[in-house]
């Protein structure tokens, strides 16, 4: 039994040592914390101004997408695609991309914290959750770090949001694109995501409004695929059976348009029923090549990242503020003006066609 007594004493003793070490570690480092804050404040002043553009160079800018290994964000961020990091290197800043591997706040927040710890001057973030990131982003802003969100916003917890496309433009332009394909006449239907999806319903609202311009086009049905490939396929097949005279389908969801394209990709329907909506080029390439889909929309993620980088550098250089009416130049994309709620709009949706689709890989 001696052995077990020794064991009994040993474990709590070492635990005590371990916990005091932990405590000591934290208290001894509290002094270096103040030096860390002063380091970051001095870091913001180290950025030297380039007289021509009035923008500082050498700023530490961290691009933090929802997750890494996501082709959409790779396009938005990478140097090769002309995204955020390309813009940052052109401006002479020190840009880097970081995030977690899963698109969750628990995975993204440590990357944001690490960027703050590393003395960031600006963060460009696509929020995995509008509220979960707030405390962390607010602590960054309290340290004087510029916070720009792109793709997915965290309202009230950032200096500026770069909006990829306006709700109105997406809704109206999809109707226009479809109208062109079906000569502005015939029955049409919508394959949406979930019936409760806020963005989908807002887009559909603008579609209905835009349809008033086309008296010969009739919206006969709205079905919901719940962003599930199987459900979306079933509801599309149901549409075709119920409405044999259907001329066109709009699916403002990447899952829905893909499922609908697969259903239409048979000799029976190909070329007879037009399909458009929001899709990603990689998933739609096959259907554009074989003529099932003529054109569809999305924004260009590389331009979104590029614009976010310019906005962040302009803000961090204090060349502009985030109030409405301020304007700045974003390199090849031209001039932009800050709108209401400190939001900058990238522009009308990008239309992918046979001619340009091969340039995109996401």
């Amino acid at each position: 039994m001696r052995g077990s007594v020794k064991r009994a004493l040993w474990a709590p003793a070492v635990l005590l040592v371990a916990s005091t070490t932990l405590a000591a570690c934290s208290s001894s480092s509290s002094t270096s914390a103040s030096s860390a804050t002063s380091a970051s404040s001095s870091a913001s002043s180290t950025g030297s101004s380039s007289a021509a553009a009035g923008l500082k160079t050498g700023l530490k800018v961290f691009v933090i997408p929802k997750n890494l290994g996501n082709p959409y964000f790779t396009t938005a961020d990478s140097v090769q695609s002309g995204g955020a990091l390309a813009a940052l290197s052109a401006l002479g800043e020190s840009g880097s991309e970081t995030s977690g591997t899963a698109a969750t706040p628990a995975s993204q927040i440590p990357a944001i914290q690490a960027a703050i710890t590393k003395g960031a001057n600006a963060l460009i973030v696509s929020a995995t959750d509008p509220s979960a990131l707030c405390p962390t982003l607010q602590s960054a802003m309290a340290k004087g770090i510029t916070v720009v969100t792109y793709d997915s916003d965290a309202p009230t917890c950032r200096d500026m949001f770069i909006n990829q496309a306006s709700t109105a433009q997406i809704g109206t332009s999809e109707v226009d694109v479809l109208a062109k394909q079906i000569n502005s006449s015939g029955d049409i239907a919508i394959v949406s995501a979930a019936a409760s999806a806020t963005n989908q319903n807002a887009w559909i609202g603008y579609m209905k409004q835009e349809l008033k311009k086309y008296p010969n086009m009739h919206l006969v049905s709205i079905v919901y695929g719940n962003d599930d490939p199987t459900t979306a396929t079933q509801v599309t097949q149901g549409l075709l059976q119920h409405y044999p005279n259907l001329k066109g389908i709009i699916s403002p969801t990447t899952v829905g348009i893909l499922a609908a394209a697969q259903v239409l990709d048979t000799s029976k329907y190909r070329g007879k029923i037009a399909l458009t909506g929001l899709g990603t080029p990689d998933s739609m390439k096959k259907f554009v090549a074989d003529g099932t889909v003529q054109s569809f929309e999305l924004w260009n993620p590389a331009n979104l990242g590029y614009l976010a980088a310019y906005a962040a550098v302009n803000l961090a250089s204090k060349k502009i503020t985030n109030s409405a009416g301020q304007s700045f130049t974003a390199g090849k994309l031209g001039s932009f003006t800050v709108g209401a709620d400190s939001t900058v709009l990238l522009g009308p949706p990008f239309v992918f066609t046979k001619a340009n689709i091969s340039q995109f890989n996401f």
Binding site: C25, A106, I109, A114, T117, D129
Partner: protein, 368 residues
């Protein structure tokens, strides 16, 4: 090494088979003491690795040893560390609980739902505690009273509890929890630099450490992990202790659910999905034998330091995040491989020295 253990087949075999084989092992009685020897050595190695991780962190980033970074480190790994403690006791007892992250998710969903229904926070905490106890009790009863293998039971409840989380909250996200709670992800405990989760972990580690290493219950947990039949014949209430362990695990995971929800200010049904694997990884890295009967709380504390320190250091050094999985996964493989390699070597050496044919059951795979 441990000749008594070599005579045992790997775990998972039904008791009827192992009982007969265990009877052939004459040194079973001294197994408890010898079982701790390699564990001690493992923890020494782990301590060296922990120091190496800290040195690596300090060398590669001037920010590694700042209080702000220590806070981040603790806050990001807090729930994993807390859930690893009851998991350690369960694995030592020869069982496993894979439903821990789902209990966390269910608790988070319940917290979000009740808060959105304007329940007072204190009442919500009571409900969460009851929920955790019931979830753990359900696991425990299925394992001990119905006699189902814990691996299968908790894979089942992993899905079940996650499903209940989805039913409770649907696809809604609840956020905007009240002020003192939703700041625990960024604000330390007043007048300190410690996150709440780290302090809770240290307190729980002390409690679990004392229970495991300094009480009769703790010794019985080792005994039932090393040999459930021997423990039963020694008069240990195996079923009762194991059920209690599952209940404690449920309670602790439910509490971790509240921490997770407040830290991220988000209650959503898929919170911490897949986290059970990180918890098991930390426990195995701690040198706790997946076959039961071996392991210590100090090992878990060291493993948490290695795990959290490494993740944080890699984040700070611009290390490709996709590759951190390779580093932590590799470390885990080494942690499982090294003790077994030593055992294999020991067996081979013993065989060579004895120069006589050993009974087949005693040498196992080493002879094939």
């Amino acid at each position: 090494m441990e000749p008594d253990q070599n005579a045992l087949p790997p775990e998972g075999l039904p008791p009827e088979k192992t009982e007969a084989q265990r009877a052939t092992s004459p040194r079973r009685a001294s197994g408890l003491r010898s079982a701790l020897q390699p564990a001690l050595r493992w923890e020494t190695g782990l301590a060296i690795v922990a120091v190496a991780v800290v040195v690596f962190g300090v060398l590669t980033s001037s920010q590694f040893l700042t209080s702000g970074n220590f806070f981040n480190m603790g806050v990001s790994s807090g729930e994993i560390a807390i859930m690893a403690l009851p998991m350690t006791l369960i694995i030592i007892s020869g069982e496993i609980d894979l439903s821990v992250a789902s209990i966390l998710g269910m608790s988070s969903a319940m917290l979000g739902f009740l808060w959105s229904e304007h329940w007072p926070m204190l009442a919500i905490f009571v409900v969460l505690a009851v929920l955790g106890v019931v979830a753990g009790l359900f696991n425990g009863l299925l394992v001990t009273r119905v006699g189902l293998p814990s691996l299968a039971v908790t894979i089942g409840t992993l899905g079940l509890y996650r499903g209940i989380a989805l039913i409770i909250l649907g696809s809604n996200t609840v956020s905007n929890f009240p002020a003192p709670y939703n700041r625990i992800g960024v604000n330390p405990i007043p007048h300190t630099n410690l996150p709440y989760s780290v302090v809770i972990f240290i307190m729980l580690a002390l409690i679990f450490g004392v229970v495991l290493h300094a009480t009769a219950t703790g010794r019985s947990i080792y005994a039932m992990g090393a040999s459930p039949e021997a423990a039963l014949f020694a008069g240990i209430r195996v079923k009762r202790v194991k059920t209690t362990l599952f209940v404690v695990s449920g309670l602790v995971c439910s509490m971790a659910g509240a921490l997770w929800t407040f830290r991220l200010d988000t209650a959503v049904w898929n919170n911490a999905i897949g986290l059970e694997l990180s918890v098991v990884a930390v426990v195995l890295l701690a040198g706790v034998s997946i076959f039961g009967g071996k392991g210590s709380i100090i090992g878990v504390v060291l493993a948490v330091i290695v795990f959290a320190g490494l993740q944080n250091a890699l984040l700070l050094t611009n290390f490709n995040q996709e590759a951190t999985g390779i580093v932590t996964g590799g470390l885990l493989l080494i942690s499982v491989f090294v003790p077994n390699a030593a055992a294999l070597l020991g067996r081979a050496r013993g065989l060579a020295i004895s120069r006589r044919p050993a009974p087949r059951s005693a040498i196992g795979a080493a002879n094939d």
